[in-house]
Amino acid sequence: MGSKSKSKIKRQDVEQQQTEETDAALSGGTSIGPTDGAIPAKHHFILIAALVIAVSVVVGITAALTKDSTTTTKSCTLADAEISLFTKDILQGYSSREELELDLTCAAMHLVVNVIISQTLEKLAVVFRPPFHNSP
């Protein structure tokens, strides 16, 4: 297996994802905002607050997962795998079950992060729905 360094999920990946999903969650759909006209001024504050909270949540989840993962026996190596693209390491594959499990763990973690972020944003949308819902 290539690099043995313990590395974490690339935060930029997650942040890229989270930004897209946050934007989508906060701007799309009729249930969380008016479909026509400007957002009332009082709601700007709530919207900004929701955005800040959402970003902090996904960063927190990412940090929690990656932090916790390094304390377990398995460490996420997705970043390593990405770095080692197009090298012999990719072609030589896995020499042990442990190596395979490391990469699977990281890939699974990447998926789960996205799922939890998605569900968290859904919950946030619920939290902030009432004031928007009542907007004219």
């Binding site: 890229q16 994802q17 949540v57 997962l65 997705l78 990405e82 693209l85 072609l91």
Partner: protein, 675 residues
């Protein structure tokens, strides 16, 4: 239709067995020379010098060139299918009654592919797809079709047995996953089969649904609890299950490429938006099977594997190289866009230098990898294969959207950098490649290619001859007839080498004809010369298409006769054209149409497909004696003479066919009729 009295016909004497280098009847097939003989691509109909072999549900049937059915073999399929224990698939009705839920979904096993070697027929049989556990994770598997899905049955070719023939079952092997593609490589005397399994992601996502948490939970607490659940239970369980299923029975890891996100080499800082989910879209295995010799019936299987980002792929082989091609949209952080990307993986079999043969398939290793910009995958692997070639250590391919040809060094263990790949731009703005033929030693030479492009604005086709060594166009010509050729093949005529283009005539309107043109390639010093052309149309100018417009295997050529299948307003048939020396020498500019044969037998009705065995789709072969063999999608095969008159017919039905569904499915038969 003229019934034949088979008992009055003596079984024909076998002609000599094939040598590995000989597949004389497959000149137009997509079976290219791999250095040690013709690569045989898996199909549901195959033929050798003596017989045609066809899948007929769960039967393998074979007949000779005179339409005499020589053997019918029921493929053992007991136990196939994820739910085989719930509803017996082969012996019928025992578990299958109106109270059995699985009965509704299950259909009999069927042959998915036949591969011919010099002495054997390898039959790939599969449980019906609806019995896959794709939607049913009842066993707790992470991968679909973990077992009981695909079975390999090795038969000897028909041998005379009194007044008939027999095919002996020599070996049976079950492999995981669903069959996807296959090749027989005479160079290594090995068969390579691709199987695919899907990954159940529900076990990774369902536990985190908000429905599983108290409604009053705060997002902060949800985050903490979900994170703990992921780390303590969900992810470890998923990883353990997937690792268990990937590892072989003895616990050793297969020859496997590491999980990675595909990415263009010229974008080293780029990252994908969702690398992991894409990387785990499917699990592919390439099963390399050593073909038994005449002295043994053993089938040694070694496997190579990868987790793929995409479910679409192509599989190609030549010499001691196998090429697996897939595609993906790769995130480019520089432009913040997804870039269509084609990914090549090559495997190399180890050659014994002493005898220049492959001596150990387990030594087959992934050899090189390249991800190149361009999205030429058409989701039709056969088109992709026609755009690919290997000569020496060069992998050549053409992308369709943009007009480029790459030559990829296969030597060395580093992968290709997109910037270092040799390429040639063919054509001008507005032109896209519509078809390509890479030269071979037998025709225009291994270092050249013929490229057809099409200019949408001009509605005109251009033909280029390209020097792949010096990377320059040797000639180009604008074709006057407005043909849009989507298939190019070289015909090895007796005196001249001909290039055949099949497509449509844009001036005739969309899908109004099948347009054919032949070019003379005999002069190495001058560009290809358009010899003749012909437009195949219906009398009513109705919707007209041909499988040969996309798939060269669909057309057949022998001894100056060219058979091209057509579909006119949904009616299948074949047109036979004269492409012999006399026509070429006469220089009339036209390809004479000899006759047409409509699909024999009754039309296939949708529900029939589910409830009875049937032959594969419409096919037609020009035989060595110039007669034509035509096979319909149901059970009829006919032979026609030089004038299109039926000289023999064969109906491949068995007495037990009619109750095929009813007898074994009880209440299910009525359900299936409306599926």
């Amino acid at each position: 239709m003229v019934p034949l009295n088979y008992s009055s016909v003596d079984p024909p004497k076998l002609k000599k067995q094939y040598q590995q280098e000989e597949f004389p009847n497959q000149k137009l097939a997509n079976n290219h020379n791999d250095g040690g003989g013709k690569v045989d691509e898996a199909d549901t109909i195959q033929r050798d010098e003596n017989f045609v072999y066809a899948a007929y549900g769960d039967y393998l049937v074979a007949w000779d060139q005179n339409g005499k059915l020589v053997t019918q073999v029921k493929i053992p399929s007991e136990g196939l299918g994820a739910n085989a224990d719930d509803a017996t698939t082969t012996n019928g009705a025992s578990n299958c009654d109106s109270n059995n839920f699985w009965c509704f979904f299950q259909l009999p096993a069927s042959i998915r592919a036949i591969l011919l070697t010099s002495e054997h027929a390898l039959v790939v049989v599969e449980s019906d797809e609806s019995s896959s556990n794709y939607y049913n994770d009842k066993e707790g598997n992470v991968l679909s079709d973990a077992d009981k899905s695909t079975r390999l049955c090795l038969y000897s070719k028909p041998t005379p047995d009194g007044a008939s023939y027999t095919m002996s079952l020599l070996n049976i092997k079950d492999i995981k996953g669903r069959y996807n593609d296959g090749l027989y490589m005479p160079h290594s005397n090995a068969i390579h089969l691709v199987t695919q399994q899907n990954i159940f992601f529900e076990s990774l996502s369902a536990p985190f649904s908000l429905d599983n948490f108290p409604k009053s939970i705060s997002y902060d607490d949800y985050q903490k609890e979900a994170t703990a659940l992921a780390l303590d239970k969900v992810i470890p369980k998923f990883v353990q299950s997937l690792a268990d299923e990937i590892l072989s029975e003895n616990g050793s890891t297969p020859n496997m490429i590491r999980i990675n996100s595909w990415r263009t080499a010229n974008n080293p800082n780029g990252t994908r938006g969702s690398a992991a989910s894409s990387a785990l879209n499917g699990y592919i295995q390439i099963h390399s099977i050593s073909v038994p010799t005449s002295k043994t019936t053993k089938m040694e299987i070694s496997r190579s594997a990868l987790l793929t980002p995409s479910r679409g792929h192509a599989f190609y082989g030549k010499g001691n190289f196998l090429v697996f091609v897939t595609h993906d949209d790769v995130w480019d952080a520089t432009t913040s866009r997804h870039v269509p990307t084609t990914c090549f993986l090559t495997l190399k079999t180890r050659i014994n230098s002493a005898n220049n043969k492959v001596d150990d398939l387990s030594k087959t290793k992934f050899h090189s990898i390249a991800a190149l910009p361009g999205y030429y995958m058409h989701y039709e692997s056969i088109i992709t294969k026609n755009r690919m070639d290997i000569q020496g250590n060069d992998l050549r391919y053409a992308v369709g959207g943009s007009v480029r040809i790459f030559s990829l060094e296969l030597q060395g263990d580093m992968t290709a950098d997109a910037d270092s790949i040799r390429r040639i731009e063919v054509g001008g703005p507005g032109e896209t490649i519509s078809s390509i033929h890479f030269g071979t030693q037998e025709d225009a030479g291994v270092h050249s290619a013929h490229v057809m492009t099409f200019d949408d604005d001009l509605q005109t086709c251009f033909l280029y001859v390209v020097d792949l060594v010096r990377l320059r166009a040797l000639s180009s010509q604008r074709l006057p007839d407005g043909g849009h050729f989507t298939s190019l093949q070289v015909l090895d005529n007796s005196n001249v080498t001909l290039l055949l283009g099949i497509g449509s005539n844009t001036s005739a309107g969309t899908n109004q004809d099948i347009f054919l043109a032949i070019f003379d390639l005999s002069s190495s010093s001058s560009p290809p010369r358009l010899l003749a052309s012909h437009s195949v149309q219906s009398s009513e100018r109705s919707w007209t298409t041909s499988l040969a417009q996309q798939d060269p295997m669909a057309a057949d050529y022998s001894n100056g006769k060219l058979a091209v299948p057509y579909s006119m307003s949904g009616i299948d048939g074949v047109v036979v054209l004269n492409v012999d020396d006399t026509v070429i020498m006469n220089n009339t500019g036209a390809i004479p149409e000899l006759y047409r044969v409509d699909s024999p037998g009754r039309l296939v009705v949708g529900s029939y497909y589910y409830c009875a065995r049937s032959l594969p789709g419409f096919r037609s072969f020009v035989q060595d004696d110039g007669t034509l063999m035509t096979i319909s999608a149901n059970s009829d095969v006919i032979g026609t003479d030089f004038f299109g008159q039926i000289i023999w017919s064969l109906n491949v039905t068995f007495p037990e066919d009619e109750p095929f569904c009813v007898a074994r499915t009880c209440e299910c038969s009525s359900n299936r009729a409306v599926l």
